[in-house]
């Protein structure tokens, strides 16, 4: 292995930055007896896409060794675990006991610490809010060694700064989260075909009582098929069934595909097949939770599909009352015009439950997420254009997916960042944070 290979990559594999690793295996390992001379950043599974989990020439505190489940109360569903435990590990424990995550993103391979630091959201955001909304307590250790117990009633300001605080406020050692009961692994699923953003919004409004809603959208289709997609909704089945643990995925994507593999053409064919796989307007089914929540987790290292140059994801939210639909349409038009194809395009209506996090990304409106292979200039130009459109509609971009936002764009769309600064640990930083606070 070449020595210039980075020791830690984000999921998008861009940018590639050199950093030292300081693996933490015990909550008492931090702070170490002598602090490294460089800035530090705690990182989890490296499942964020851009540079929130990177630090050029810094020291990354890797936390996957902190994976212990410390306590579980089957009466209340409250689980206390160390921050490096992944949601997959929690599900493996909880599902056979009749519990499920209250909030889960589209991959189960994120850590609890990462879920807090990015205040992640899931397909049920419109009902339950973000991960932070179900976070009862956690311990934060600052680089000077001082521990802070944080909850909605203790050290409230630190609680709020750390949720969505991108790991910058200190090291989260353990957290207490609230799980929800289930009686079956199955999801009562319904897929509804739609064409156009207005129909998507109408479907979302008609489905606010359904727990999980999300839409896949074909952003290659033009003309009368523009913004066609499948609205996917589901609830946990209430028919009791055996709660067996999931099988470990057997497939690992074996190699980096060449850059030309994903192009406008191949994605267009895939999208047409995917859209037409469902024959009728509506389709109902009883499906396992794994393919419903984590369709891509069944192939480990699927990011290799994008080749060595990596991928960039673009996720924005455009709030209501700022020409939301027209903003989304403008973004999709810009994508179509660029000739770049997004393999995965996902849209969802966020609810209005406020997150406790100071810098949390979600707000009421429509969120759109797209991902693209990185092609020098072409992709970056497109990203910059998409970001400007989102900002013009009072939208903002999700730091967990970002590697391109300018400092001006960040500071305009996250005005709370100035209040956040005083909570940043003096020894902590990240490539993202250095980038978006540069002009300050």
């Amino acid at each position: 292995m070449a020595n210039n290979q980075p020791r830690f990559e984000s999921w998008g594999r861009y940018p590639t930055l050199q950093a030292d690793l300081l693996p933490l295996h015990w909550t008492t390992d931090f702070p170490p007896k002598s602090l490294p001379p460089t800035a530090m950043l705690p990182v989890g599974a490296g499942r964020s896409y851009g540079d929130v989990c990177l630090l050029d020439r810094g020291t990354l505190l890797t936390t996957r060794g902190l994976d212990r489940l410390l306590h579980f109360d089957p009466e209340t569903g409250v689980l206390r675990c160390e921050a490096g435990a992944t949601l997959a590990e929690i599900l493996e424990f909880a599902v056979p006991r009749g519990f499920f995550l209250t909030v889960t993103p589209g991959t189960k391979y994120v850590t609890v610490g990462g879920a807090i630091a990015n205040d992640i959201h899931g397909k049920n955001h419109h009902i339950v809010g973000t991960f932070g909304s179900h976070l009862l307590r956690f311990e934060l250790i600052r680089s000077d060694g001082s521990p802070l117990l944080c909850s909605p009633t203790e050290n409230r300001d630190w609680y709020s700064a750390t949720i969505g605080g991108m790991g910058l406020t200190g090291l989260i050692t353990w957290a207490e989260i609230c799980l929800r009961p289930i009686v079956s692994r199955k999801i009562q699923y319904q897929g509804i075909k739609f064409v156009g953003i207005d129909e998507f919004v109408a479907l979302s409004q008609a489905s606010t009582h359904v727990e999980y809603t999300v839409a896949w959208i074909d952003c290659v289709a033009r003309g009368r098929n523009f913004a066609r997609g499948i609205f996917m909704q589901g609830d946990h089945s209430d028919q009791p069934e055996p709660l067996n643990p999931s099988k470990a995925p057997r497939l690992t994507f074996p190699m980096d595909l060449p850059e030309f593999a994903l192009n406008h053409f191949s994605v267009g064919i895939f999208n047409a097949l995917y859209y037409n796989k469902q024959m009728g307007k509506r389709k109902t089914d009883l499906v396992d939770y794994e393919p419903f929540f984590y369709p891509l987790d069944s192939v480990l290292q699927w990011n290799r599909v994008y080749g060595k140059s990596g991928l960039l994801q673009f996720q924005c939210v455009i709030p209501w009352e700022h020409g939301t639909q027209s903003g989304i349409v403008r973004i999709l038009e810009a994508v179509t015009a660029s000739g770049l194809a997004s393999f995965l395009a996902v849209m969802k209506v966020f609810g209005d439950k406020p997150s406790p996090g100071l810098l949390s990304f979600p707000k009421p409106g429509i969120t759109l997420s797209l991902d693209f292979p990185i092609r020098q200039q072409v992709s970056f130009d497109l990203f910059d254009r998409l970001a400007s459109i989102a900002l013009e509609h009072s939208g903002r971009i999700y730091p967990a997916k970002d590697a391109r936002m300018t400092a001006a764009q960040y500071q305009a769309s996250y005005p709370e960042w100035r209040r956040f600064v005083e909570y940043v640990d003096p020894r902590f930083s990240s490539a993202f944070w250095q980038r978006v606070t540069k002009l300050a």
Binding site: M1, P23, H25, W26, T28, L70, H71, E82, F93
Partner: protein, 239 residues
Amino acid sequence: MGATSAIAIATSRLLAARKASFYLVARSGAKLEAVASDLRTRGATSVTLKLMDLDDTAQHPQMLESAAAALGEIDLALIAHGVLGDQEQAQADYSVTEAILRTNLLSPVSLCTWLGNYFEAQRRGVLAVISSVAGDRGRKSNYIYGTTKGALNIFLDGLRNRIDRHGVHVLTIRPGFVATPMTAHLRRNALFADPNTVARGIVKAIERRKDVVYLPAVWAPIMLIVRSIPRSIFKRLNM
């Protein structure tokens, strides 16, 4: 023993899911508490903690008697403590070598002496000991560590030969590179296994009553080749 080592933790978790009772021995109270909480949460029937330095062989009989008392009887003993040691320091300074020998060899031999006799009298039991592929052949990069594991292998062979006929299963576990705190300073490569993979292999080897197990299994052919290289060639290699 060595209950806070990564392989011991991963193995204990699998056993906790089967509602096992544990007697955990390690040096650090804070780490032991964290491991105990984890095992209780995952289904352990009971967890008893014992803080001690396993280098102190004089304390072994007393500790093991209290383990047998706490558990009622011992079904399975897993000996998992050990240090990698610093090869360069050890070859320059015998006192460093002696400390590695004490932790990796004398201490397990002392434990196995008591446990072997206990299991022999009980007419059943599993004595699982973590050795290493490094014990298969001395190499310049880590022959002090390798010596402790190689000697341990021979000791276990002999013990097995003595007590297997009395219903006692002696299992020699020879892992290759495992991604644990002990190897955190080494650059990871494709040969590094996850402790959970090794743990599953240990549980399977216990169930199948294996004598010696290489984990992951790919190390068995690798070590066969390493052992087969003629000494006249081997001595010139950089390994």
